[in-house]
Symmetry: C2
Subunit: 215 residues, 2 copies
DNA sequence: CAAAATTAATCAAACGATTGATTGGCTTGG
DNA sequence: CCAAGCCAATCAATCGTTTGATTAATTTTG
Protein backbone atom coordinates (compact mmCIF):
# COMPACT_ATOMS: atom_id res chain seq x y z
CA UNK A 1 0.00 0.00 0.00
CA UNK A 2 0.98 3.58 -0.56
CA UNK A 3 0.06 4.43 3.01
CA UNK A 4 2.78 2.19 4.38
CA UNK A 5 5.40 3.87 2.28
CA UNK A 6 4.43 7.30 3.52
CA UNK A 7 4.32 6.06 7.08
CA UNK A 8 7.78 4.61 6.75
CA UNK A 9 9.18 7.77 5.22
CA UNK A 10 7.54 9.74 7.96
CA UNK A 11 9.02 7.47 10.57
CA UNK A 12 12.47 7.96 9.09
CA UNK A 13 11.91 11.70 9.15
CA UNK A 14 10.85 11.52 12.80
CA UNK A 15 14.03 9.71 13.75
CA UNK A 16 16.19 11.90 11.54
CA UNK A 17 14.72 15.05 13.02
CA UNK A 18 15.54 13.92 16.54
CA UNK A 19 19.07 12.79 15.74
CA UNK A 20 19.88 15.84 13.64
CA UNK A 21 18.57 18.03 16.44
CA UNK A 22 20.66 16.28 19.05
CA UNK A 23 23.89 15.94 17.14
CA UNK A 24 23.78 18.49 14.34
CA UNK A 25 24.15 17.76 10.66
CA UNK A 26 27.77 16.66 10.85
CA UNK A 27 27.38 14.81 14.13
CA UNK A 28 24.53 12.66 12.91
CA UNK A 29 25.53 9.73 10.71
CA UNK A 30 23.35 8.04 8.16
CA UNK A 31 24.12 4.72 9.80
CA UNK A 32 22.83 5.95 13.11
CA UNK A 33 19.65 7.31 11.61
CA UNK A 34 18.91 4.22 9.53
CA UNK A 35 19.80 1.96 12.42
CA UNK A 36 17.55 3.75 14.87
CA UNK A 37 14.76 3.93 12.34
CA UNK A 38 15.06 0.21 11.71
CA UNK A 39 15.61 0.51 7.98
CA UNK A 40 18.44 -0.32 5.67
CA UNK A 41 20.97 2.41 5.12
CA UNK A 42 20.45 2.42 1.40
CA UNK A 43 16.83 3.37 1.91
CA UNK A 44 17.82 6.83 3.01
CA UNK A 45 19.42 7.48 -0.34
CA UNK A 46 16.70 5.60 -2.13
CA UNK A 47 14.05 7.82 -0.62
CA UNK A 48 15.83 11.12 -0.12
CA UNK A 49 18.73 11.03 -2.52
CA UNK A 50 21.38 11.98 -0.03
CA UNK A 51 22.04 12.93 3.55
CA UNK A 52 21.47 16.54 2.66
CA UNK A 53 18.25 15.59 0.89
CA UNK A 54 17.12 13.89 4.06
CA UNK A 55 17.94 16.96 6.08
CA UNK A 56 16.01 19.16 3.71
CA UNK A 57 13.07 16.78 3.83
CA UNK A 58 13.06 17.07 7.62
CA UNK A 59 13.19 20.80 7.30
CA UNK A 60 10.46 21.12 4.67
CA UNK A 61 8.06 18.93 6.54
CA UNK A 62 8.52 21.00 9.64
CA UNK A 63 8.12 24.38 8.08
CA UNK A 64 5.17 23.48 5.90
CA UNK A 65 3.12 23.42 9.06
CA UNK A 66 4.42 26.86 9.97
CA UNK A 67 4.03 28.64 6.71
CA UNK A 68 0.31 29.18 6.70
CA UNK A 69 0.03 29.79 10.42
CA UNK A 70 1.19 33.36 10.73
CA UNK A 71 0.85 34.28 7.11
CA UNK A 72 -2.45 36.03 7.28
CA UNK A 73 -2.00 37.95 10.47
CA UNK A 74 -0.37 40.74 8.57
CA UNK A 75 -3.11 40.98 6.01
CA UNK A 76 -5.91 41.15 8.53
CA UNK A 77 -7.40 44.60 8.05
CA UNK A 78 -9.44 44.48 11.21
CA UNK A 79 -6.46 44.45 13.57
CA UNK A 80 -4.39 47.38 14.70
CA UNK A 81 -0.65 47.27 14.16
CA UNK A 82 -0.10 46.67 17.82
CA UNK A 83 -2.62 43.85 17.95
CA UNK A 84 -0.87 42.17 15.06
CA UNK A 85 2.43 42.44 16.84
CA UNK A 86 0.94 40.99 20.00
CA UNK A 87 -0.48 38.11 18.04
CA UNK A 88 2.89 37.43 16.44
CA UNK A 89 4.59 37.33 19.80
CA UNK A 90 2.06 34.92 21.21
CA UNK A 91 2.59 32.81 18.16
CA UNK A 92 6.35 32.76 18.40
CA UNK A 93 6.43 32.03 22.10
CA UNK A 94 3.97 29.18 21.79
CA UNK A 95 5.88 27.65 18.93
CA UNK A 96 9.29 28.14 20.41
CA UNK A 97 8.47 25.83 23.29
CA UNK A 98 7.08 23.02 21.20
CA UNK A 99 9.83 22.98 18.62
CA UNK A 100 12.84 24.04 20.59
CA UNK A 101 14.96 21.08 19.50
CA UNK A 102 14.32 21.85 15.89
CA UNK A 103 14.83 25.57 16.42
CA UNK A 104 18.19 24.81 17.93
CA UNK A 105 19.04 22.76 14.89
CA UNK A 106 18.15 25.65 12.60
CA UNK A 107 20.12 28.15 14.60
CA UNK A 108 23.14 25.91 14.62
CA UNK A 109 23.08 25.34 10.91
CA UNK A 110 22.52 29.01 10.23
CA UNK A 111 25.51 30.06 12.26
CA UNK A 112 27.60 27.63 10.23
CA UNK A 113 28.95 29.26 7.13
CA UNK A 114 29.09 26.22 4.88
CA UNK A 115 26.45 24.29 2.98
CA UNK A 116 25.20 27.33 1.15
CA UNK A 117 22.32 25.71 -0.63
CA UNK A 118 21.02 24.58 2.71
CA UNK A 119 21.42 27.86 4.52
CA UNK A 120 19.95 29.63 1.55
CA UNK A 121 16.79 27.62 1.88
CA UNK A 122 16.64 28.19 5.63
CA UNK A 123 17.28 31.87 5.10
CA UNK A 124 14.46 32.02 2.63
CA UNK A 125 12.03 30.61 5.16
CA UNK A 126 13.21 32.71 8.06
CA UNK A 127 13.05 35.85 5.98
CA UNK A 128 9.34 35.31 5.54
CA UNK A 129 8.89 35.83 9.26
CA UNK A 130 11.26 38.75 9.25
CA UNK A 131 9.43 40.49 6.45
CA UNK A 132 6.13 39.82 8.10
CA UNK A 133 7.26 41.66 11.19
CA UNK A 134 8.88 44.41 9.19
CA UNK A 135 5.64 45.03 7.36
CA UNK A 136 3.79 45.41 10.64
CA UNK A 137 6.34 47.85 11.97
CA UNK A 138 6.35 49.97 8.87
CA UNK A 139 2.60 50.02 8.75
CA UNK A 140 2.51 51.08 12.38
CA UNK A 141 4.93 53.91 11.75
CA UNK A 142 3.00 55.08 8.73
CA UNK A 143 -0.37 55.24 10.43
CA UNK A 144 1.12 56.85 13.50
CA UNK A 145 0.59 53.96 15.93
CA UNK A 146 4.31 53.65 16.52
CA UNK A 147 6.88 56.36 17.10
CA UNK A 148 8.75 57.62 14.06
CA UNK A 149 12.17 57.17 15.61
CA UNK A 150 12.03 53.43 16.13
CA UNK A 151 14.43 50.97 14.56
CA UNK A 152 12.34 48.20 13.01
CA UNK A 153 15.23 46.01 11.89
CA UNK A 154 16.90 45.87 15.26
CA UNK A 155 13.56 45.31 16.95
CA UNK A 156 13.23 42.18 14.87
CA UNK A 157 16.67 41.14 16.02
CA UNK A 158 15.48 41.65 19.59
CA UNK A 159 12.34 39.58 19.16
CA UNK A 160 14.04 36.61 17.56
CA UNK A 161 17.26 37.06 19.47
CA UNK A 162 15.66 37.00 22.88
CA UNK A 163 13.69 33.92 21.95
CA UNK A 164 16.75 32.16 20.53
CA UNK A 165 18.82 33.00 23.55
CA UNK A 166 16.47 31.08 25.79
CA UNK A 167 16.39 28.17 23.36
CA UNK A 168 20.07 27.98 22.57
CA UNK A 169 21.40 28.45 26.05
CA UNK A 170 18.89 26.64 28.24
CA UNK A 171 21.65 25.93 30.71
CA UNK A 172 22.29 29.61 31.27
CA UNK A 173 18.62 30.53 31.13
CA UNK A 174 17.85 27.97 33.80
CA UNK A 175 20.50 29.35 36.10
CA UNK A 176 19.24 32.87 35.48
CA UNK A 177 15.62 32.06 36.14
CA UNK A 178 16.36 29.82 39.09
CA UNK A 179 14.42 26.97 37.54
CA UNK A 180 15.09 24.28 34.96
CA UNK A 181 13.77 25.68 31.71
CA UNK A 182 13.27 22.19 30.33
CA UNK A 183 10.69 21.34 32.95
CA UNK A 184 7.55 21.31 30.85
CA UNK A 185 5.14 22.25 33.60
CA UNK A 186 7.20 25.26 34.60
CA UNK A 187 7.52 26.20 30.98
CA UNK A 188 3.85 26.06 30.23
CA UNK A 189 2.45 27.55 33.41
CA UNK A 190 5.07 30.01 34.51
CA UNK A 191 7.52 30.84 31.81
CA UNK A 192 5.36 31.25 28.76
CA UNK A 193 2.99 33.83 30.28
CA UNK A 194 5.87 35.66 31.85
CA UNK A 195 7.78 35.74 28.62
CA UNK A 196 4.82 36.99 26.63
CA UNK A 197 4.08 39.70 29.17
CA UNK A 198 7.67 40.84 29.21
CA UNK A 199 7.99 40.97 25.47
CA UNK A 200 4.84 42.97 25.01
CA UNK A 201 5.77 45.47 27.70
CA UNK A 202 9.25 45.83 26.33
CA UNK A 203 8.09 46.46 22.81
CA UNK A 204 5.18 48.63 23.84
CA UNK A 205 7.33 50.93 25.96
CA UNK A 206 9.71 51.40 23.07
CA UNK A 207 7.16 51.68 20.31
CA UNK A 208 4.94 54.18 22.04
CA UNK A 209 7.83 56.56 22.55
CA UNK A 210 8.68 58.85 19.72
CA UNK A 211 12.32 58.16 20.57
CA UNK A 212 13.28 61.58 19.36
CA UNK A 213 17.00 61.47 19.12
CA UNK A 214 17.58 65.04 17.99
CA UNK A 215 18.34 66.05 21.52
CA UNK B 1 64.15 29.31 20.27
CA UNK B 2 61.33 29.04 22.72
CA UNK B 3 59.77 32.23 21.38
CA UNK B 4 59.37 30.74 17.95
CA UNK B 5 57.63 27.72 19.36
CA UNK B 6 55.15 29.86 21.22
CA UNK B 7 54.57 31.99 18.15
CA UNK B 8 53.90 28.94 16.06
CA UNK B 9 51.52 27.47 18.61
CA UNK B 10 49.76 30.79 18.78
CA UNK B 11 49.50 30.94 15.04
CA UNK B 12 47.97 27.47 14.98
CA UNK B 13 45.50 28.56 17.62
CA UNK B 14 44.59 31.62 15.57
CA UNK B 15 43.81 29.51 12.54
CA UNK B 16 42.05 26.84 14.58
CA UNK B 17 39.89 29.43 16.26
CA UNK B 18 38.72 30.81 12.96
CA UNK B 19 38.06 27.43 11.38
CA UNK B 20 36.32 26.00 14.41
CA UNK B 21 34.19 29.12 14.51
CA UNK B 22 33.26 28.87 10.87
CA UNK B 23 32.67 25.15 10.59
CA UNK B 24 32.04 23.88 14.09
CA UNK B 25 33.98 21.16 15.87
CA UNK B 26 32.82 18.33 13.62
CA UNK B 27 32.97 20.35 10.44
CA UNK B 28 36.55 21.45 10.96
CA UNK B 29 39.16 18.89 10.00
CA UNK B 30 42.66 18.69 11.37
CA UNK B 31 44.02 18.63 7.84
CA UNK B 32 42.33 21.87 7.01
CA UNK B 33 43.62 23.54 10.13
CA UNK B 34 47.17 22.30 9.71
CA UNK B 35 47.10 23.10 6.01
CA UNK B 36 45.91 26.62 6.50
CA UNK B 37 48.33 27.16 9.35
CA UNK B 38 51.16 25.91 7.17
CA UNK B 39 52.28 23.18 9.52
CA UNK B 40 52.37 19.44 9.33
CA UNK B 41 49.30 17.64 10.54
CA UNK B 42 51.23 15.65 13.07
CA UNK B 43 52.21 18.88 14.79
CA UNK B 44 48.68 19.40 16.00
CA UNK B 45 48.82 16.18 17.93
CA UNK B 46 52.38 16.83 18.91
CA UNK B 47 51.47 20.17 20.44
CA UNK B 48 47.92 19.63 21.62
CA UNK B 49 47.55 15.88 21.95
CA UNK B 50 44.36 15.59 19.98
CA UNK B 51 41.74 17.50 18.06
CA UNK B 52 39.76 17.99 21.24
CA UNK B 53 42.91 19.13 23.00
CA UNK B 54 43.39 21.73 20.30
CA UNK B 55 39.81 22.81 20.70
CA UNK B 56 40.25 23.18 24.44
CA UNK B 57 43.47 25.11 23.92
CA UNK B 58 41.65 27.59 21.71
CA UNK B 59 39.13 28.09 24.45
CA UNK B 60 41.51 28.46 27.31
CA UNK B 61 43.60 31.04 25.53
CA UNK B 62 40.57 33.12 24.68
CA UNK B 63 38.95 32.83 28.05
CA UNK B 64 42.10 33.82 29.86
CA UNK B 65 42.14 36.99 27.80
CA UNK B 66 38.53 37.64 28.75
CA UNK B 67 38.95 37.09 32.44
CA UNK B 68 40.95 40.24 32.93
CA UNK B 69 39.01 42.29 30.44
CA UNK B 70 35.62 42.50 32.03
CA UNK B 71 36.09 44.34 35.25
CA UNK B 72 33.30 45.09 37.62
CA UNK B 73 31.62 48.27 36.58
CA UNK B 74 28.98 47.36 39.10
CA UNK B 75 31.02 48.39 42.11
CA UNK B 76 31.64 51.95 40.96
CA UNK B 77 29.78 54.07 43.51
CA UNK B 78 29.96 57.26 41.49
CA UNK B 79 27.77 56.04 38.63
CA UNK B 80 24.02 55.85 38.51
CA UNK B 81 22.41 52.52 37.73
CA UNK B 82 21.52 53.72 34.28
CA UNK B 83 25.03 54.95 33.57
CA UNK B 84 26.37 51.57 34.54
CA UNK B 85 23.97 49.87 32.20
CA UNK B 86 24.94 52.18 29.38
CA UNK B 87 28.57 51.44 30.01
CA UNK B 88 27.89 47.71 29.91
CA UNK B 89 26.10 48.00 26.61
CA UNK B 90 28.93 50.00 25.07
CA UNK B 91 31.28 47.37 26.35
CA UNK B 92 29.36 44.43 24.95
CA UNK B 93 28.79 45.98 21.57
CA UNK B 94 32.43 46.89 21.19
CA UNK B 95 33.55 43.44 22.19
CA UNK B 96 31.01 41.62 20.11
CA UNK B 97 32.49 42.99 16.92
CA UNK B 98 36.05 42.13 17.77
CA UNK B 99 35.40 38.61 18.92
CA UNK B 100 32.45 37.62 16.81
CA UNK B 101 34.14 34.49 15.49
CA UNK B 102 34.75 33.25 18.96
CA UNK B 103 31.32 34.27 20.16
CA UNK B 104 29.82 32.16 17.43
CA UNK B 105 31.94 29.27 18.54
CA UNK B 106 30.76 29.67 22.11
CA UNK B 107 27.12 29.93 21.16
CA UNK B 108 27.30 26.87 18.98
CA UNK B 109 29.08 24.84 21.59
CA UNK B 110 26.60 25.94 24.24
CA UNK B 111 23.63 24.92 22.16
CA UNK B 112 25.20 21.52 21.55
CA UNK B 113 24.49 19.23 24.45
CA UNK B 114 27.72 17.27 24.39
CA UNK B 115 31.15 18.02 25.83
CA UNK B 116 29.82 18.85 29.28
CA UNK B 117 33.11 19.73 30.85
CA UNK B 118 33.44 22.43 28.24
CA UNK B 119 29.95 23.84 28.56
CA UNK B 120 30.36 23.97 32.30
CA UNK B 121 33.42 26.08 31.84
CA UNK B 122 31.71 28.36 29.35
CA UNK B 123 28.68 28.66 31.57
CA UNK B 124 30.88 29.76 34.41
CA UNK B 125 32.36 32.56 32.33
CA UNK B 126 29.11 33.72 30.82
CA UNK B 127 27.41 33.79 34.19
CA UNK B 128 29.85 36.40 35.35
CA UNK B 129 28.42 38.82 32.82
CA UNK B 130 24.90 37.77 33.62
CA UNK B 131 25.35 38.37 37.32
CA UNK B 132 26.97 41.70 36.68
CA UNK B 133 23.93 42.89 34.80
CA UNK B 134 21.57 41.39 37.30
CA UNK B 135 23.23 43.29 40.10
CA UNK B 136 22.82 46.57 38.25
CA UNK B 137 19.16 45.91 37.59
CA UNK B 138 18.41 44.98 41.16
CA UNK B 139 20.26 47.98 42.46
CA UNK B 140 18.31 50.21 40.08
CA UNK B 141 15.03 48.80 41.26
CA UNK B 142 16.01 49.21 44.88
CA UNK B 143 17.01 52.85 44.63
CA UNK B 144 14.02 53.70 42.49
CA UNK B 145 15.87 54.46 39.26
CA UNK B 146 14.07 51.64 37.46
CA UNK B 147 10.41 50.69 37.57
CA UNK B 148 9.41 48.03 40.06
CA UNK B 149 7.58 45.91 37.51
CA UNK B 150 10.53 45.15 35.27
CA UNK B 151 11.81 41.67 34.56
CA UNK B 152 15.59 41.75 35.06
CA UNK B 153 16.25 38.16 33.98
CA UNK B 154 14.46 38.46 30.67
CA UNK B 155 16.08 41.82 30.05
CA UNK B 156 19.40 40.08 30.26
CA UNK B 157 18.15 37.55 27.74
CA UNK B 158 17.23 40.45 25.49
CA UNK B 159 20.60 42.14 25.76
CA UNK B 160 22.65 39.05 25.03
CA UNK B 161 20.05 37.55 22.73
CA UNK B 162 19.86 40.54 20.43
CA UNK B 163 23.62 40.69 20.25
CA UNK B 164 23.94 36.97 19.56
CA UNK B 165 21.29 37.08 16.89
CA UNK B 166 23.34 39.51 14.88
CA UNK B 167 26.46 37.44 15.37
CA UNK B 168 24.99 34.01 14.76
CA UNK B 169 22.86 34.85 11.78
CA UNK B 170 24.92 37.43 9.90
CA UNK B 171 23.35 36.25 6.68
CA UNK B 172 19.87 37.15 7.90
CA UNK B 173 21.05 40.29 9.63
CA UNK B 174 22.70 41.49 6.45
CA UNK B 175 19.56 40.97 4.43
CA UNK B 176 17.55 42.74 7.09
CA UNK B 177 19.82 45.72 7.30
CA UNK B 178 20.37 45.93 3.58
CA UNK B 179 24.12 45.83 4.02
CA UNK B 180 26.74 43.14 4.55
CA UNK B 181 27.26 42.99 8.27
CA UNK B 182 30.74 41.60 7.83
CA UNK B 183 31.96 44.71 6.12
CA UNK B 184 34.20 46.14 8.78
CA UNK B 185 33.85 49.76 7.80
CA UNK B 186 30.07 49.56 7.82
CA UNK B 187 30.24 47.74 11.11
CA UNK B 188 32.42 50.28 12.81
CA UNK B 189 31.00 53.48 11.42
CA UNK B 190 27.34 52.72 10.91
CA UNK B 191 26.24 49.65 12.73
CA UNK B 192 27.92 49.96 16.10
CA UNK B 193 26.57 53.46 16.87
CA UNK B 194 23.15 52.51 15.60
CA UNK B 195 23.11 49.36 17.67
CA UNK B 196 24.19 51.14 20.82
CA UNK B 197 21.60 53.86 20.35
CA UNK B 198 18.85 51.35 19.75
CA UNK B 199 19.75 49.25 22.74
CA UNK B 200 19.85 52.19 25.09
CA UNK B 201 16.54 53.57 23.88
CA UNK B 202 14.91 50.18 24.07
CA UNK B 203 16.06 49.55 27.61
CA UNK B 204 15.44 53.09 28.75
CA UNK B 205 11.86 53.11 27.52
CA UNK B 206 11.18 49.89 29.35
CA UNK B 207 13.07 50.67 32.51
CA UNK B 208 11.62 54.09 33.04
CA UNK B 209 8.08 52.76 32.92
CA UNK B 210 6.66 51.34 36.08
CA UNK B 211 5.14 48.64 33.88
CA UNK B 212 2.21 48.33 36.18
CA UNK B 213 0.43 45.24 35.05
CA UNK B 214 -2.51 45.39 37.44
CA UNK B 215 -4.63 46.97 34.77
C1' DC C 1 -7.37 -16.09 -15.66
C1' DA C 2 -2.65 -17.34 -15.51
C1' DA C 3 1.85 -16.77 -17.03
C1' DA C 4 5.24 -13.58 -18.21
C1' DA C 5 7.30 -9.14 -18.00
C1' DT C 6 8.07 -4.99 -15.59
C1' DT C 7 8.63 -2.08 -11.74
C1' DA C 8 9.36 -0.97 -6.92
C1' DA C 9 11.32 -1.98 -2.48
C1' DT C 10 14.78 -3.90 0.16
C1' DC C 11 19.09 -5.74 1.51
C1' DA C 12 24.11 -7.08 2.43
C1' DA C 13 28.31 -5.85 0.86
C1' DA C 14 31.61 -3.00 -0.67
C1' DC C 15 33.02 1.48 -2.65
C1' DG C 16 36.31 5.48 -2.56
C1' DA C 17 37.08 9.28 0.22
C1' DT C 18 38.14 11.41 4.44
C1' DT C 19 38.61 11.37 9.24
C1' DG C 20 41.84 11.77 13.61
C1' DA C 21 45.81 9.66 15.04
C1' DT C 22 50.48 7.34 14.87
C1' DT C 23 54.77 5.77 13.26
C1' DG C 24 59.68 5.97 12.31
C1' DG C 25 63.14 8.41 10.55
C1' DC C 26 65.20 12.89 9.20
C1' DT C 27 66.86 17.56 10.64
C1' DT C 28 68.66 20.81 13.71
C1' DG C 29 70.18 23.73 17.65
C1' DG C 30 72.56 23.39 22.00
C1' DC D 1 75.78 13.50 20.23
C1' DC D 2 71.14 13.94 21.57
C1' DA D 3 66.87 15.42 22.70
C1' DA D 4 63.26 18.35 20.48
C1' DG D 5 61.11 19.71 16.47
C1' DC D 6 59.44 18.26 12.40
C1' DC D 7 57.52 15.67 8.43
C1' DA D 8 56.06 12.20 4.84
C1' DA D 9 53.84 8.04 4.98
C1' DT D 10 50.58 5.28 6.86
C1' DC D 11 47.08 3.50 10.23
C1' DA D 12 42.43 1.84 11.32
C1' DA D 13 37.99 3.74 11.57
C1' DT D 14 34.18 5.92 9.82
C1' DC D 15 31.99 8.62 6.57
C1' DG D 16 28.17 9.02 2.71
C1' DT D 17 27.15 6.63 -1.18
C1' DT D 18 26.69 2.94 -4.75
C1' DT D 19 26.22 -1.49 -6.33
C1' DG D 20 24.15 -5.90 -7.81
C1' DA D 21 21.29 -9.34 -6.27
C1' DT D 22 16.85 -10.64 -4.29
C1' DT D 23 12.16 -10.33 -3.10
C1' DA D 24 7.44 -8.33 -3.44
C1' DA D 25 4.13 -6.04 -5.95
C1' DT D 26 2.06 -4.54 -10.18
C1' DT D 27 1.13 -4.55 -14.99
C1' DT D 28 1.04 -6.56 -19.38
C1' DT D 29 0.17 -10.07 -22.38
C1' DG D 30 -1.57 -14.34 -24.57
Amino acid sequence: MDKDKIDKKDHILDVAERIFSDLGFDGASTRMISGEAGVNMAMLNYYFGSKEGLFLAVFERKISSFQTLLQNIGNDESMSSWDKLEKCIDNYVDRMIVNNCFQKLINREMSMGKRWDLTDKITEILMINVMELKKIFEEGIKNGSFGKGIDPELMIATIFGTKNYIINAPHIASLMLGHDIRDEEFLEEKFKPRFKTYMKQLLKSYLMNDNDYTK
